[in-house]
Amino acid sequence: MSLTPALKRRRQGGAPDTALRWSLGAAGFALLVVVWEVYKALGPVDGLEIAGVRVLPRTTDLAMPHSWDMVARLFEPVTRADDALPLWLEVVNASLFTLGIAAVGWMIGLTVGVGLALVMQRWRLAEWGLLPWIVLSQTVPLIALAPVVRSWGARVEIGAFEWQDWMSVALIASYLAFFPIAIGALRGLQSPDAIHTELMHTYAAGWWTTLVKLRLPAAVPYLLPALRLAAANAVIGAIVAEVSTGLRGGIGRIIIQYAGQASGDPAKAWGPIFGAIVLGLLAAGSIALLGSTLGRFRRAEVNA
């Protein structure tokens, strides 16, 4: 059976494959823009309502600005004030602020998640006791949690250390981030087969040695997707927490603020939304970068 060149390239991996994936991604994005504009041009001006429920949006410039207007708006000043920055710079600044908080939240999530996974791997009893609570923790709505964390934080004052509002946001972000890491790390740590754990047993290797030589390397393929998910979660958590705690300076704040101005400046509200998307991609992408350095831990399991 002869393979098509494209398939052969895919089997071998490598550069052409990567280029193909990037161009497909770009094509998907272009398609989205086309669909947006086509609907805006051809759709009913007042949208479509069925039994009082609007199922299709209005196509006015207010509801659906032209995609080029949204891009053009990025390069105009934020306000009419003389010293106003261009919108894109404002969005970038806010994004970096949020990214910093999300990164702190991600790292807290990593520490707590891996810590919980280690405890649960070490003591089966801890797994039985903890795992249901970990799963249950994610059913608490973030919006309900934010004011509580903020008011608790306001009372924390240890010596010279004073709780900052951004710390509440980071903590809430970590609340979303730790979950996939704890679950992924636990599965990964438990993934070695009996043959491998017995082998370490015959080497008279203790828990720590087995962890370092066997369990942690075996956990890498499980950890990487968990870390990526956690990174995206941390960004979402940080944005939502910024909104619900009212923290200034981040992307969550300006999303709300510009949305309030949308009646006069509809394209402006899309700036921070693009920022949030880029932020999520950036966070997930940096994990992919981390993964590319750990290639040898992701080799296929040996089957014989």
Binding site: D193, I195, H196, E198, L199, M200, H201, T202, Y203, A204, A205, T209, K213, L214, P217, V220, R296, F297, R298, R299, A300, E301, V302, A304
Partner: protein, 274 residues
């Protein structure tokens, strides 16, 4: 590193050993009244139908399971102490190599765990790579090797600490017949060089005959030693492929087969005789 036990003592002494597993439907007697001595440097195969407890016996010797009754000594020590002293190396049916480690790093794993210095590890790994004939594959990963090669790496790894006893649980069971015969010839050579005693679990009569000084024939339910058949084929280290076509070889195959069938006659499958 361990101090190599003197080769004059017994490698394994098993007496009146019993092992019972508790399952939902009651107790299952896996091994009953097993008595067996393996001399230092001797090659002993355990053979028998499924459920005769041959793998269980191997696991008890390796301290991977605890006996219910009787005594078990490995080089005059408890199996646990022998394990802690690294007196034995072990190889399973699955090669069980770590996929993220190269061939070399896999062989070095036990040495690394026991804190052997990097230089000494490299030297020992080189010796072992030569011994199993995989020198040029040292930097390859397990998924780049054939099943037979992977199993050779596993054997090299089992030999890393120069154990005086090798425990092997159907190590060639997953290989095709040609590779299997090749590996058997290799194992005879390796054992002659290392002078290690071997306890070898297998399903294959010709394999047991070709490799062993003595073949222990076991019968199931409960797992018992049916007969111990000494192989009258001369020294194991002098054996080569031509032995497989020798009349004496076929005589021994017949002897083991008859012992196996004698075992299954008065212990039909599924019938509890106790």
């Amino acid at each position: 590193m361990n101090t190599a036990p003197a080769h004059t003592e017994h490698a394994v002494v098993v007496s009146a050993l019993g092992k019972t597993f508790s399952v939902k439907s009651g107790d299952v007697v896996a091994l009953d009244d097993i008595t067996l001595t393996v001399e230092a440097g001797e090659f002993v195969s355990l053979i028998g139908p499924s459920g005769c407890g041959k793998s269980t016996l191997l696991r008890l010797i390796g301290d991977l399971d605890q006996p219910t009754s009787g005594t078990l000594e490995v080089f005059g020590k408890s199996p646990r102490q022998a394990r802690l002293d690294q007196d034995y190396g072990i190889a399973f049916q699955q090669a069980g190599l770590l996929p993220w480690r190269t061939v070399r790093a896999n062989i070095e794993l036990p040495l690394e765990v026991h804190g052997v210095a990097a230089k000494a590890r490299t030297a020992r790994a080189n010796e072992l790579l030569d011994l199993v004939g995989l020198g040029e594959f040292a930097e390859k990963y397990p998924d780049q090797l054939s099943g037979g090669m992977q199993q050779r790496v596993a054997i090299a790894r089992a030999l890393a600490e120069r154990p005086a006893l090798l425990l092997m649980d159907e190590p060639f069971g997953a290989l095709d017949e040609m590779t299997r015969e090749y590996m058997q010839t290799e194992l005879v050579r390796i054992c002659a060089e290392t002078k290690a005693a071997v306890v070898f679990v297998t399903h294959s009569i010709p394999e047991a005959v070709f490799l062993s000084d003595r073949v222990v024939v076991m019968s199931p339910r409960p797992g018992r030693i049916e007969r111990i058949v000494p192989m009258q084929l001369g020294s194991t280290s002098a054996r080569a492929d031509d032995l497989r076509e020798d009349v004496s070889f076929f005589e021994m195959v017949t002897a083991v087969r008859e012992a196996l069938h004698a075992g299954s006659e008065h212990a039909p499958r599924g019938v509890e005789l106790r």
